[in-house]
Subunit: 333 residues, 4 copies
């Protein structure tokens, strides 16, 4: 870490700062120039509260040379994390395809889709039970009942299941859920992250709509700092000025996250675009860019499916996509 101190800094203040840094075990080297002083900090700078330092009025700039994330940092864990989820594996060359409906609606619906996506090549089943909706007047999901239906589909197909939690109060309902999803809107719900980090579940953490990759890894860090290192990172689009898509899918996040971290990186092309026609090209793009998996919304009965999102695809389109993903992975990896 480098701290650039204003030339007008009071030597006494500077001394206090140095002592304080010394106290927390950080080595400080000074380089005095005409327009100020550069402090080079060596050692374990994770304990330094950057915002606090920046708050000092004699500090012009703080530059972090080392990344503020630790447990998720590839520098300290060069090997890919490989997660075992039921009979599926994810990371370190193992590709996962998570598919299922936007919302769990009925026992028939979820079981039919579960069988269809399994046959098409999926190895995990997703389904929304607790639904985050912008409007309080929109359908909020079947909630606990939805989880029960998912567990039924799990029993029938043998596929591990993925579902979103929205509040720590509902944790009991997720006892038999294999992967607990933290949605984009909760990426910085720090209390939820801390609590979920005390479970031994695999956590699928979605990137927030307006969060940088560093903040994304800091949220993974919250979970890992609580003791749970089984985290999947999921890129799902960020908010920009472009209105043609619901969000802008940030494909660069894949190679960057894989460089910054050892955690598996998957993508959700359905929510990233909000357009069913884009699911296929975005999924293929993500695979070509090195993603470890995809999570796709698949619905079964378009005729009556008044409740499926505009981003859902049909099982046959999903099967064709899975075939092409296999081909691309074969020639590239």
């Amino acid at each position: 870490m480098i701290i650039y101190v204003e030339e007008k800094a009071d030597p006494k203040q500077l001394e206090t700062l140095k002592e304080w840094l010394d106290d927390i075990g950080v080595e400080v080297h000074s380089l005095a120039g005409k327009n100020g002083t550069i402090l080079g900090l060596l050692g374990d700078t994770h304990k330094v509260d950057v915002e606090m330092i920046q708050g000092l009025d004699f500090v012009r700039k703080v530059v972090q040379v080392k990344e503020p994330y630790k447990s998720s940092n590839r520098t300290f864990h060069p090997d890919d994390t490989v997660l075992e989820i039921g009979n599926a594996k994810l990371g370190g060359g193992h590709f996962a395809a998570i598919a299922g409906p936007c919302s769990v609606e009925s026992i028939e619906q979820i079981c039919d889709i579960a069988k269809a996506v399994k046959e098409a090549g999926a190895n995990m089943l997703r389904g929304g039970a607790f639904k985050p909706r912008t409007s309080p007047y929109s359908f909020q999901g079947l909630r606990k009942k939805g989880i029960e239906l998912l567990l039924h589909a799990k029993q029938i197909t043998g596929m591990p299941i993925v579902s979103e939690i929205m509040d720590i109060g509902n944790i009991a309902a997720f006892e038999h859920v294999d992967v607990i999803q933290i949605g984009a809107r909760n990426m910085q719900n720090f209390e939820l992250l801390k609590e979920i980090g005390r479970t031994d579940k695999v956590i699928l953490l979605k990137r927030g709509l307006a969060n940088t990759l560093k903040e994304f890894l800091m949220s993974a860090e919250y979970i890992m700092a609580s003791g749970n290192e089984k985290v999947i990172l999921c890129e799902r689009g960020i908010r920009t000025f472009e209105t043609q898509t619901r969000n802008t899918f940030d494909v660069s996040a894949i190679p960057l996250l894989k460089k910054m971290s050892h955690l598996p990186v998957i993508v959700d092309p359905s929510h990233a675009s909000g357009i069913s026609e884009l699911v296929r090209p975005l999924a293929l793009a993500a695979v070509a860019a090195g993603a470890d998996g995809i999570m796709v919304e698949v619905h079964n009965d378009p005729e009556h499916a008044l409740c499926d999102g505009p981003q859902s695809i049909k099982p046959d389109a999903f099967k064709s996509l899975m075939d092409d993903i296999k081909k691309v992975r074969e020639v590239l990896f």
Copy 2:
């Protein structure tokens, strides 16, 4: 609401849609053109699930003419909401100045600042007890102890207090807190919004970093739909490409929110900019644009204040700002 249907739409599907809309009590008028059909929806369209309609593959576009928010909508409540908070009032011409430290640190610190900001013209005291921090390794606040210290300062000064809640599990600690703040990162923590809507506290809802004004009002709607109509809207900057400020303060949000809604609108210039020098110009700008109040970070002892944010100002700067706000309000309102 207007639904634009593709020319290629199957008449049977179209009929199903019309029946479905009819069932929920919405009147449908058709206007057939060469390139498709326009459906004009009349009546209470709040029940229409817009995303669901947009998901139908024969629908080209859905245009909402009426706003999706209801309880917070000025159309249905032309008069400004006026909130009484302890001996302070907010809204409908009543201006509120909320001031205090970033974090509550000690009994001396919070009491000293409380007295200083009261003298300078504040009529509510703010102080962070539960602190949302990007890093799990940063100071997380004094938590329950912090609320106790705030209550002590309330007793001494008589000022109502404002503090942030991060999880519904801690609600008991806020029993004597006058205004419960929902932070920007929790603006779409829908479970928290629903629960807090069941309390009778005044809720200060901050706009999310990447949320539109419509989404902001939909979050207020969650609280109000649960029964609590005492909501304060707080603009605190949005995330943009500009890096000179921590966030971009969206001053247009003030007149727009006041036009869209009857709820009081305040601003937080400290967090919007992250720069103490900007607190004054941004606060004055907000007042000139019609804000009903400001929330400002004030610290007392810059010498030892290693823990104050770079956006905090001193009591004398706050006093000078309050004097100028009074002058501007006198000539404009």
Copy 3:
């Protein structure tokens, strides 16, 4: 086009608007509701000045159902445009690889790189002569001299060349240049677009940093409306809050542009990311998403290349990328 008129609209004003629309040959259908009137416009609505209509104070909303771009619109030209550029082809299944240095520096440099990229599989040579630099104190390119050096490399290798124009005053220097590039910062330099549309050169139009896909196609429309239909669209990243990459590469733009328009769509992964390590994954992602070509910065001598951008790759990395692109295209298209 649909115009939603406020209920309070003066019938006289409404009549004037209808007459005015009638005069420009647009058919108007009215649908009166309780909260206003919906005007459905049929016929050639391209002549309707949308902003003007939106400016009328009795108009609540204007919704464009048809796209405002015409010549570039796939609806009216279902077949892909195929461009012949020297002995290269682009579009309609023909893939183009444009490679070369950031700036042309010397005869040796450009000729060496030209030979290297040709051997690696490029079929067009790029090189900056007129350089858009943020700072007036930075190197502005060899300008006319740079074009001459490029032409020399063209003669030696037989490859068509691509170079950026920054002002119509320099058009004479581009007489023998095969493809004239309009940079992102000039995407809405409308006078330049009009003038360049009067030439018979192939125009490579880059998307602006903060421009929507619609605006992008409207800029292509400027060139085409002047008579030149030989336009290549190039996605090169948009500006967002994320700072890890120079820009956010919008991979969704590829399938969307190809759906909206018949023009060839290429990408520039070098400038999109500003990071050499990302060139390969982003290029492969773009190819998998359906791009018709790539434009990549390649430099030759990293030891002395003080002037190459941080986004340049070496010829052998480019060759390996071209090999993998071929494989992906073989299995997908």
Copy 4:
């Protein structure tokens, strides 16, 4: 400037870099640490090509401590620039109000509005002659004829005039125009900036839709480096995800630009919001935040004004705004 060099850097490469920096007269101080070396650069670092240094593969990070803009930098010119434009003054406590129609349409229109805005308190007249329009099918302005009409209005009222140039080819038409405007879309049209910098006109430079304040000052620097120091900076909104306003008015830009630079800073609330109702609150906010002037669209005859933008206000609303601006300035400055 600080250059952080990777630990794996080849000592030979490092030596070359140091020599190269030495050659351009920059003093280099090294501070070797365990994880790399910090180079502190002292002296006139304006000549250092930052992008080039960042391109070196052994460089981890370059931090600019000094700002890259020089002529516009307040550090080197502590006093406000005061511009004399006809009988108006701008900057250093002198407030300017520029008003007029979106487009010049006829001799009656421009003269009527000119008289009306002068009476209402404007001291400069604006009017669009060359119009940047997103669509080639929209009205492109009266062009040279429009400038002639403006000059007529200038003669009648004595007010200096402001109009936008879009291409250096039309410079002759601006011979008698007092202030030449560079629009947001041309902010980084570097060739235009260089050429306009060779004139002795006052230049009103608008901030680009997606440009940072640093880039904004670098564009001013282009004009000033060509010899013309009479530059006005104009904030007019930036592009964000919010769709309620056309752009997001960045009110923080006012105090920041005034701190960074000695040039006068004005705002354009009409284009920033695109909504006539927001002109008044945004203008007042800007004044309270310290703006040196405003530029407002005023139209005269709403009945027939099919061509005025949705952001125009009437003369009486402008007069009332000017009165309130005067009051706010009296109590604050």
